[in-house]
């Protein structure tokens, strides 16, 4: 069984926990300007809350003494940050050229059929968000996909389906 990595259940929805705030404060110490810790903070907060919703952006803006709109623009720029809730598991299939040459795209299509959703969508039960992704640095081990933090390489279609089925 592969355990859900995100989103963890937040004690109070939308609120950044004290523990995360503490970690953000520690990260800030490492940079000449505290804003340097923003990307790390976005990772930490997203791990905790599942996404960076506008109210979360506002909270972060307070912590970083910046404008909420600037947090929003940063969130919107990067592939890994989401302003809206995602499925419990985020499955990314690499469809870039090296993977495509070895079946990355057909893998994605088979998984779309298997889950009954298109890339970019979330299963109705909120279990899986399926995404296509650019090169993940696993070119020799294609096809591959990433579930949360973990890479799964040299994947056949059947194996990949089993993997998805095992997600809670």
């Amino acid at each position: 069984m592969v355990k859900a990595v995100k989103p963890k259940k937040a004690a109070k929805s939308g609120a950044i926990s004290g523990a995360t705030r503490k970690r953000i404060a520690e990260e800030m110490q490492k940079f000449p300007q505290k804003r340097g810790a923003l990307l790390e903070a976005l990772h930490l907060v997203q791990e905790e809350l599942g996404c960076i919703a506008p109210e979360t952006a506002r909270e972060l803006a307070e912590i970083f003494e910046m404008r909420a709109v600037e947090v929003m623009e940063v969130v919107s720029f990067y592939n890994m940050f989401h302003a809206a809730p995602q499925g419990r598991h985020h499955v990314h299939v690499c469809t870039n050229l090296p993977c495509s040459l070895r079946g990355g795209r057909s893998l994605l299509r088979r998984l779309e059929e298997h889950l009954g959703i298109r890339a970019g969508e979330t299963t109705p039960d909120g279990r899986i968000t399926l995404g296509r992704e650019e090169c993940l640095g696993a070119c020799a081990y294609a096809p591959m996909l990433r579930i949360g933090d973990t890479y799964h390489e040299n994947l056949g279609v059947e194996l990949a389906k089993k993997l998805l089925d095992s997600l809670e």
Binding site: P54, R67, A68, V69, E70, M72, E73, S76, F77
Partner: protein, 535 residues
């Protein structure tokens, strides 16, 4: 320190450390002899360098360089018309048009759109792309004053930089990335600051429009006439957009010594005062029934003169309380000075009340009148001494230019102190509580309906000229005072004379040393500082 550069064969001496576009702008030749089209660069905003349109050829540098971010060096030789430059421009233009909607016929910016202009100028009127255009939101309300059409936006980021750098409010960002980029504000934190509407002026295309002006009038029907905002004593330079003898909008007119390229929203909207329904439309006289009724100018002058004469006969010049207007021109106020002198009263015996309001470090001044500084420079005193003379009963008649005395600092709108006077003679543009108790009312022209000068808070004398002709009979205060002097046969007013603001303006310098050499015909469109003022 200066350096010498050559642009298209012409030699220029420019300040060291400037970029090419800044240097050309300093020289006044940018887009005025030297054509370097540009979108993201704006003279009063930080350098962005992203539109890539301003590429020029610099001798000795293999790649084309963007003129907005290339610093001048001594001996630099620049070409803006070479084949390579032309091709590069065409390339950028064509790419900008790939996704641009073919909206011109329904676009408010048509006629003042830099995309349209350059596309025409550089011969790329559409791109060769046959692909479907990017579909985005056509109407996003960024805030109470501004609407965004995402499809028209060319992502020059001028609006983003403006909000960060000028009002410092930073409401706008570019959201997303690549070809999904759009201008956006945070949910619940709209574009809403005292200068927000400037973004519509600096937007080079029709992506940002003001709700106020949207769809009201095609810009090519507008005459853009130079003027000065009368919203406060900053004296921001504007162009009044006029069609059919009506002002449709104000837009900022660049004056680096005053307002750079900006105006505040309140000032921008103050154009509505000109055509306002609350303008005073005719001379009025209070009849035996106690009601104000419309009258001819002659009748009004006769009644006013009679009241004044009676007061003077009873108590001398002391019996006439006079309020100067901080909205009137220097020329009007000089006429008032002469009127007072003819009565034998010093200028400081007349008071000037100045309405006040919010101010900031940017443009907005506390004094909400265009010529408050000028009124003081002409020697008028404070308003409270005048009120005191009314309260004490020493004054029997009030001659008021404007109704600013009603302001919270003075009468707080309560005219009861004036009710016992034998006469209230009012020269004013707009209706007020003062009008309601006046015995004689003369309709005055708005500053943008007459020729003259205004002195801003920094002591800069700036020219106004009639941008519209009032649709009703109205006179500048100076002319009414001239006629009143004649009706009273005051010394110096014996010979009937035409009201000639040019001549009056010339004599400002004769009577007040600070105005030496400064008059409506010499200040030009950018004004001149009063002698002794640094502005």
């Amino acid at each position: 320190m200066t350096v010498r550069i050559t642009v298209d064969g012409a030699a220029y001496e420019v300040e060291e450390g400037r970029t090419l576009l800044q240097a050309l702008d300093d020289l006044g030749v940018l887009m005025n002899g030297v054509e370097v089209p540009h979108y993201c660069w704006h003279p009063k905003l930080s350098i962005d360098g992203s539109c890539r349109l301003c590429q020029v050829e610099v001798e000795g540098v293999p790649k084309l360089q963007i003129a907005c971010d290339t610093r001048v060096t001594d001996g630099m030789v620049v070409h803006t018309k070479s084949e390579r430059v032309r091709k590069a421009r065409e390339g950028v233009m064509e790419l900008l048009l790939v996704n641009h909607p073919l909206d011109c016929p329904i676009c408010d910016q048509a006629g003042e759109c830099k995309l349209q202009d350059y596309a025409f100028e550089y011969g790329v009127q559409h791109s060769r792309s046959r692909e479907p255009r990017r579909a985005l939101e056509k109407r996003v309300e960024l805030g109470p004053t501004i609407v965004l059409d995402q499809e028209r936006c060319i992502l020059c980021r001028r609006c983003v930089r403006f909000c960060r750098e000028v009002p410092g409010t930073g409401e706008l960002v570019v959201e997303n990335r690549g070809d999904r980029s759009v201008i956006a504000a945070f949910p619940g934190a709209p574009l809403d600051n005292d200068y927000s509407m400037n973004v519509a002026d600096i937007c080079p295309v029709g992506a940002l429009t003001t709700k106020d002006f949207r769809f009201k009038m095609r810009v090519w029907f507008l005459d853009e006439l130079p003027g000065v905002c009368t919203g406060c004593s900053a004296g921001c330079n504007i162009h009044a957009g006029v069609a059919n003898n009506r002002v449709y909008r104000y837009v900022p007119r660049r004056n680096d010594a005053v307002n750079e390229t900006w105006i505040c929203d309140a000032g921008r909207m103050s154009y509505r005062e000109i055509g306002s329904a609350s303008r005073i439309h005719h001379p009025q006289v209070r009849g035996a029934d106690g009601r104000l009724t419309a009258a001819g100018l002659g009748d009004a002058l006769a009644v006013a003169a009679a009241r004044l004469r009676a007061a003077i006969e009873g108590g001398g010049a002391e019996a006439v309380a006079v309020l100067a207007s901080p909205h009137a021109t220097n020329e009007d106020l000089l006429a008032l000075r002469r009127f007072l002198a003819a009565l034998g009263a010093p200028p400081e015996s007349a008071g000037v009340a100045v309405p006040t309001g919010a101010s900031d470090d940017l443009l907005l001044r506390e004094e909400k009148a265009a010529n408050a500084f000028g009124a003081r420079a002409l020697g008028f005193g404070g308003a409270d001494a005048v009120i005191e003379r009314v309260r004490s009963g020493a004054a029997r008649v009030l001659l008021a230019l404007g109704h600013d005395i009603l302001a919270p600092a003075h009468l707080r709108g309560d005219v009861s102190a004036l009710a016992l006077l034998d006469g209230v003679i009012l020269l004013d543009t707009h209706r007020s509580a003062l009008e309601r108790i006046a015995h004689v009312v003369f309709p005055a022209r708005h500053a943008l309906e007459k020729l003259g000068t205004l002195t801003n808070a920094a002591g800069r004398v700036q020219r106004v000229q009639p941008v519209v002709e009032p649709a009703f009979a109205a006179w500048s205060e100076g002319e009414i005072l001239l006629r009143l002097g004649e009706a009273l046969a005051l010394p110096g007013f014996e010979e009937p004379a035409a009201w000639d603001p040019h001549a009056v303006s010339k004599s400002l310098g004769e009577e007040l040393p600070a105005f030496a050499g400064i008059d409506v015909d010499s200040v030009g469109h950018e004004g001149l500082p009063l002698r002794g003022e640094s502005a």
